[in-house]
Symmetry: D2
Subunit: 331 residues, 4 copies
Amino acid sequence: MQFLSDNAAAVHPRVWQAMRNADAPQPPYDNDALSHGLDAAFSELFERPCAVLWAATGTAANCLALATLVPPHGGVICHREAHIETDECGAPGFYTHGAKLILAEGEGALLAPAAVTAAIGAIRRDVHQVQPHALSLTQASEYGRVYRPGEMAELGGVAREHGLKLHVDGARFANAVAFLECTPWEACQGADTLAFGCIKNGGMSAEALVLFDPELADLARLRRKRAGHLQSKGRFLAAQLLALVEDGLWLDNARAANAAARELARAAAGRLLHPVEANEVFLALSADERAALRAQGFAFYDWGEDAARLVTAWNADPGHVHSLAEAIGKL
Amino acid sequence: MQFLSDNAAAVHPRVWQAMRNADAPQPPYDNDALSHGLDAAFSELFERPCAVLWAATGTAANCLALATLVPPHGGVICHREAHIETDECGAPGFYTHGAKLILAEGEGALLAPAAVTAAIGAIRRDVHQVQPHALSLTQASEYGRVYRPGEMAELGGVAREHGLKLHVDGARFANAVAFLECTPWEACQGADTLAFGCIKNGGMSAEALVLFDPELADLARLRRKRAGHLQSKGRFLAAQLLALVEDGLWLDNARAANAAARELARAAAGRLLHPVEANEVFLALSADERAALRAQGFAFYDWGEDAARLVTAWNADPGHVHSLAEAIGKL
Amino acid sequence: MQFLSDNAAAVHPRVWQAMRNADAPQPPYDNDALSHGLDAAFSELFERPCAVLWAATGTAANCLALATLVPPHGGVICHREAHIETDECGAPGFYTHGAKLILAEGEGALLAPAAVTAAIGAIRRDVHQVQPHALSLTQASEYGRVYRPGEMAELGGVAREHGLKLHVDGARFANAVAFLECTPWEACQGADTLAFGCIKNGGMSAEALVLFDPELADLARLRRKRAGHLQSKGRFLAAQLLALVEDGLWLDNARAANAAARELARAAAGRLLHPVEANEVFLALSADERAALRAQGFAFYDWGEDAARLVTAWNADPGHVHSLAEAIGKL
Amino acid sequence: MQFLSDNAAAVHPRVWQAMRNADAPQPPYDNDALSHGLDAAFSELFERPCAVLWAATGTAANCLALATLVPPHGGVICHREAHIETDECGAPGFYTHGAKLILAEGEGALLAPAAVTAAIGAIRRDVHQVQPHALSLTQASEYGRVYRPGEMAELGGVAREHGLKLHVDGARFANAVAFLECTPWEACQGADTLAFGCIKNGGMSAEALVLFDPELADLARLRRKRAGHLQSKGRFLAAQLLALVEDGLWLDNARAANAAARELARAAAGRLLHPVEANEVFLALSADERAALRAQGFAFYDWGEDAARLVTAWNADPGHVHSLAEAIGKL
């Protein structure tokens, strides 16, 4: 009974079907009809013009976005626990050619406007210090927290006011939108770029890099090729993305994952380290308690000495979820 | 009737099947059983210990190899028409952090030992000139030519003698081995790294980076992650590679593609710009002749003003091939 | 009466003289007799074999050292207020091709061994996190604090134990040695590389990059050339370095600067933010007090809202120092 | 009797004097009055607004210019024998983060417009090939040849027509202007950036990076700092540049060097490999002849098997020049 992560979960049957359907002769790279259809599909989803590139990983999508927004001598303000800082092996430094991640703090891996302005304010405007060019937020955050539309709007305003571009790491963007019950744009409003996650949400090997300024697409395409991410059978990536965004499959999947996390959260009420808003549950669990759960067949990661992280996927087995909730309740 | 390229051809049914079989719960990244099986499968294939990493494109596999072999201040000797020089949008410069491609010349995009030693000899051994650290050969070459085992051995010797590492770009390595009817190792002997192509040969989205010095694997893995190429559902890439190398499917596919190219070559005997050894046919064709063929439904690329390139894939339709051969014969 | 910084102070007459003496025909770059003499001069100074390269700035010397010790995918542990982090405009990221500065905390911009081991301990040993390859310490620190020989030895031990190289940013190394009254090696023991500062200490345009592993020199020389730092009239840089280290001029200069700082410190006893060990004085001064001092002709930098930084140079005018000390005493 | 190079020649007395005069208290970096005066001095010289940054080497000036004009994924068209290609140890790749040098051919290391358009024309306008962003010309060329104002204008037109920026490597720009007897601007017209050489022409350690679009200066300043080239006592570099351009010292020095080269050229009339226009003389000389000259005390570099390169500096000794001319005549 697996609660380790959503990142290696099964591929949704409709994604498989779309991939099979894509196995007909098509021009290579992103010259196929499916890849050509991405801009329209996402423009409709976000109710504004956007250009969309597929990429094989969230790291690639994030870093292609940052490389498009930030020069090598620039900086990116992000949370100290942002995925780009802690879990991408320096990929932002590679893609941006050495731009600096400027770290800010906030509860639940969320950044408040005041934390962003404090980070900006600490930088002297001279040639000796790296100047910030972008702000990167994670929606939902690395602790499964979700920025409200108003917060996102305010953060976008702070960014614009200081001449910063705004990138949103949306590895679990679907979970955030499902939680907020708002439009996709409301959940990332003000963003210049969005790494729209699919792999954790029923996809296999495709994330969408959404550029809300379509003029940036040419640059991002050159960078994607240069990074070895322009796949010759790109139609199979486009097919995954289209299958997920068509007919709302991405939200259905996210709702299922969120619901499972909520069930666990209810069972763990007194133990929660963070409010559960998306599909991650961080809870206080002693070593003995963790061992007890594992003895019952539940797999999950430790989170430091006295806590654990549970992640629910789109295909969380209801029986497993009930059993785990029950087991937690009994601890 | 498509002869544009093999790079967007259909995915082989056994590859599809292997991918479906891989859709069971597994640890993420390359911690799954299939990824773990790559080293053994390729070590058996090459009859020597090797470490293998999957990567989504040939560009990524080539450049991860070069980044592993060459420091940022170093150089790579390659043919002026090598894919890494002409068709990767500067990816080698990106991955190696600015190492220089040092260009040499040779018929059919092949490098003779003398051309390599001449390129080396032209470099002063001082701090003002970029010093070569590797030699990169393409097997089969960008013109569908194939290094014989003896030539490969001699080139490997030249590399070692001058302290250079040897990388082989094997985007169409299967076609070379199928042509040579030798062991895989004989076709790349002396190589330190090999980008073993699968995508043009029935795969979907996986190439194999083969490291004949397994000690290099840790470095290559860090670089892969840093380049955003560590996919969380890597089991689907491993499945493709294993499906191709098990039971010799890779060679069966390559033989089929080569046979189709040979048939076209026979029909175009007087027009060939290069001997046809793998699955590419470069032939003199006037603009009128090209137009005539296209009017009959054949798709292919121009190659300069007075020539064309025909590429045959693993699934080349025998009827299409016969028709094209006949049409060329009648020109 | 200038207490802004030592970084733009006058050039010492003996340095001028040495430069004039160097204006005779010599081979270019670092092939001249003076540049050739650096290794011997510094090997004697440090009582062990070392290789020495001149560089035009401390930033260049620091970053050439880091680029020699750390691969692009690696990390460097340093203090959150280290000069390489705060005042080099991302030069470490440029020179190392994106390696990460991993920040640790400590009083007075000094790092205690526990802070270093905590920083190391917080890093998972996997491919997702940047792995540390070096530790960088500043001697004297950015707050004019000085590591004692025993502390330096302990920190070097921590580095070795974790497989890290040790770099010492010695922009004000002379001031540290003058304070410690120890041998130069004792003040940086365990270091693999040292940026030995001269410009703030009577030089014009030359710092010494000292490599305690002379085998690294070839690599550092290539990197220096590639960074545009191989000056064709390098003899003028070598002349500066030799003039300073011969006959102990570097220590005489540093002692003068330190003595001036001590005089100010005595006058400001109750106001000191940091113990004064080298040639920098950080003291609590209200806006009114700062204005009062400036009205008397003293120039210095604010340090936040309620403090100021005073720096004394090798040529600090005793009269100016007395006057400032007196003025502070009277506040 | 030294004809090896002009790059390590003595420093002109007026340059020394200017440096001594600069040794008064001044703000650090480029905040001093001398550095502030550069824009005006060069704007007058070039009869148009320009921004000027000092840099310690020609390599740094060239590469800072290229990094300002060309993105990491772009390319620079230059001659196959351009200094940036052959003698900067890959510094352009370092500074531009991997941009590609696209090589073109031409007599005397000069590029004709047709060679440039051919190089551009050979590049497919797609995402697979590196797209050119700049043209780099060397004035005078690496073989001491000089572009005429009309040629420069035409090349500038070619660049603009194809959307390329134009950089001029002017390590020996003074020699070109002295030869042409035109205005400085006529000798580089159309340039966006010029590396204006001083070190080979009586300076010590300062070249001028001239930006004819002053808006680029902020970017270049950030890059200079990031490359460790922002010297804290920058006033000494500014002093050198001002001393050379004031009162035409730069042209006086260049005329002297050119005159010496012309004298040698007359003596070597039948042996010249290239017309002598600046201060370099390439002449056919057998090994025996070279040995004979060296036996008479003349120092110079071999140029391949059967030739030699003689370079004359601003302070070429007339007696030495006569002697060498005579000795060549007698061979």
